[in-house]
């Protein structure tokens, strides 16, 4: 038994709740595309902007989106941070570059990480391409895109990226 003389000041009340998460219709289509090595966005019928990952609507116009658009897996870094502190939910080795990538043909940045490049060489405007898991290991989760790596193409000038910040 615990030390009787000492007053109790704390209690432990662990919580474990189990749920069955549903990805929703639009995101499921996107994830199944990922499972086939494709990045599928959706185009807004009103403003014609392309969203990825799609959530089934354009929040700007508040209308549903259905038109599917296959996107390139290449894009441009619009901004980034170098993460040097561990985070419980991320298993990428430190330090790593957390980046916003504007995929070619898309109108909002996609959040990912960059590897195969020293972190001090990551730049806004840098061209990058997705590195996928081997074809036979593709699954319908975003883990199928391991990370992005530099393509070596010339940087995109900042002027052209400003509006995506």
């Amino acid at each position: 038994m615990a030390d009787e003389a000492k007053p109790v000041t704390n209690i432990k009340t662990p919580m474990r709740l189990e749920y069955r998460y549903s990805a929703g219709v639009a995101t499921s289509r996107f994830l199944r595309g990922i499972g086939q090595g494709k990045i599928l966005g959706q185009r807004c019928p009103s403003c014609r902007k392309v969203y990825v990952p799609p959530r089934g609507s354009c929040p700007r116009c508040a209308v549903p989106t259905v038109e599917e658009v296959e996107l390139s897996d290449e894009g441009t870094i619009t901004t980034f941070a170098i993460v040097r502190v561990p985070s419980e939910n991320i298993d990428v080795p430190l330090p790593f570059a957390s980046v916003h990538v504007l995929l070619d043909g898309c109108d909002i940045p996609f959040f990912s990480v960059v590897q195969e490049c020293p972190v001090d060489q990551i730049r806004i405007g840098m061209r990058v391409q997705a590195v996928w898991v081997p074809k036979e290991e593709l699954t319908s989760t975003l883990q199928s895109i391991r990370y992005f790596k530099p393509t070596g193409e010339p940087d995109v000038p900042f002027e052209k990226l400003k509006e995506f910040l």
């Binding site: 929040p59 170098i82 939910n89 991320i90 916003h100 990480v113 806004i124």
Partner: protein, 385 residues
């Protein structure tokens, strides 16, 4: 049409990493009792209670207003629970003040809190979503790329963020309730602190705090005989925009710009930098001070950093910002916004002690939340509006 709303009582806890000596209810009651005492009122005098906090998962109590009703003397009264992410402390105060302005109640108690030590902020902010790949490391990981974008766009010197942190931590030394009160946080100490989410250094970030803030608001006819003259609500505004959409301006959000314009115009302010005597704004990462200076219309776009550099935002500057030490020095998340609103009111009541701005008559309280998408603001003054 609206009734005037007075702030007659303000209370807060000492903010610290772990308030191991109190229950959640005890933490809230400490702030609430200080506010009631400041107002010269007691529990039965209160007509309604409005409570706010950030995600319930921080403490693991779903809709804690239910469990806290008894603790806040709300039994038999109306009780509302607000949640608008990081801006919640501000929006909670706005909902409470609306009850007065609408003429529905005479005396409203409003309380906001977070007891982060019950769990860990990073967990509740980055719950892993199945089928997704986690690539954003908490709030710092989310906001760091925006800071980098600001640096690139404005050409601000790299030490701007350090200077903000030096100023806010020095201000915190004058605030007995602040969490981070460390005289050793000099320029060199902050510059030398580790990069967590490069370009954000450890000492350029806010702490995780346990804490609560409370205010008693009344109509003009119900003003008690408080020890101090009340602060008056001159105007309030809220604006929200979606999390992420094509063409979104993340660094200088349109929702923040619109919210500021509305709160100034309703208060009859045409030149905010000249007319506002003190501003308490939500700066969880030091670089957000220059960013919000621009968003709030105190500086031209791209020029906000100069205010920090020139000392304009210092306690003795022309627009003192975060005289209390701000979110950088105390961050009980759900309460942080209300602390901004309350500190603004303390300034115009002349109640801010060592961090008082001499003769402050008009002050701004500001809070933001989500991915820089929820804004709440109020202008308070020493004179009846």
């Amino acid at each position: 049409m609206a009734e005037r709303c007075a702030i007659v009582g303000i209370g807060q806890t000492h903010h610290t990493a772990r308030r191991d000596d109190v229950s959640i209810a005890g933490l809230l009651r400490e702030a609430a009792l200080r506010a009631l005492d400041d107002a010269g009122l007691d529990w039965p005098d209160v007509d309604a209670v409005v409570i706010g906090k950030a995600p319930d998962m921080f403490e693991g109590v779903m809709m804690p207003e239910l469990y806290l009703a008894d603790a806040l003397g709300a039994v038999g009264k109306p009780m509302l629970r607000v949640h608008t992410a990081g801006s919640v402390g501000g929006s909670t105060a706005i909902v409470a003040a609306s009850l007065i302005q609408a003429g529905i109640h005479e005396r409203v108690l409003t309380v906001a809190f977070e007891k982060q030590s019950e769990s860990n902020a990073m967990w509740a902010l980055t719950v892993k979503t199945p089928l997704q790949a986690a690539v954003v490391a908490g709030a710092g990981g989310y906001f760091a790329p925006l800071v980098r974008g600001y640096m690139q766009r404005s050409g601000a010197p790299e030490d701007t963020g350090i200077r903000v942190a030096v100023k806010d931590r020095a201000n915190a030394l004058k605030n007995p309730y602040a969490h981070i009160r460390d005289p050793n946080l000099t320029f060199d100490a902050i510059a030398g602190s580790p990069m967590l989410w490069d370009p954000i250094r450890f000492h350029e970030t806010c702490p995780s705090s346990d804490g609560a803030c409370a205010m008693v608001l009344t109509s003009e006819r119900a003003i008690p005989r408080p020890k101090l003259a009340p602060a008056w609500v001159h105007s309030m505004a809220m604006r929200s925009e979606p999390t992420q959409f094509a063409g979104q301006e993340k660094i200088n959000p349109v929702s923040g710009q619109m919210c500021a314009k509305e709160v100034y115009s309703k208060a009859g302010i045409t030149d905010p930098r000249r007319e506002i005597d003190a501003a308490e704004i939500y700066v969880p990462f030091s670089w957000f001070e220059p960013m919000w200076m621009e968003n709030l219309g105190f500086a031209e776009v791209g020029q906000g950093w100069k205010m920090t550099y020139e000392g304009a935002t210092a306690l003795d500057g022309d627009l003192p910002v975060n005289c209390s030490g701000g979110v950088l020095s105390s961050n009980p998340i759900g309460a942080s916004g209300m602390l901004r609103f309350a500190e603004a009111a303390m300034q115009v009541r002349g109640q801010a002690g060592e961090h008082q701005v001499d003769g402050a008559k008009i002050a701004l309280g500001h809070a933001y939340g989500g991915g820089s998408q929820f804004f709440s603001m109020w202008i308070v003054g020493s004179a009846r509006p």
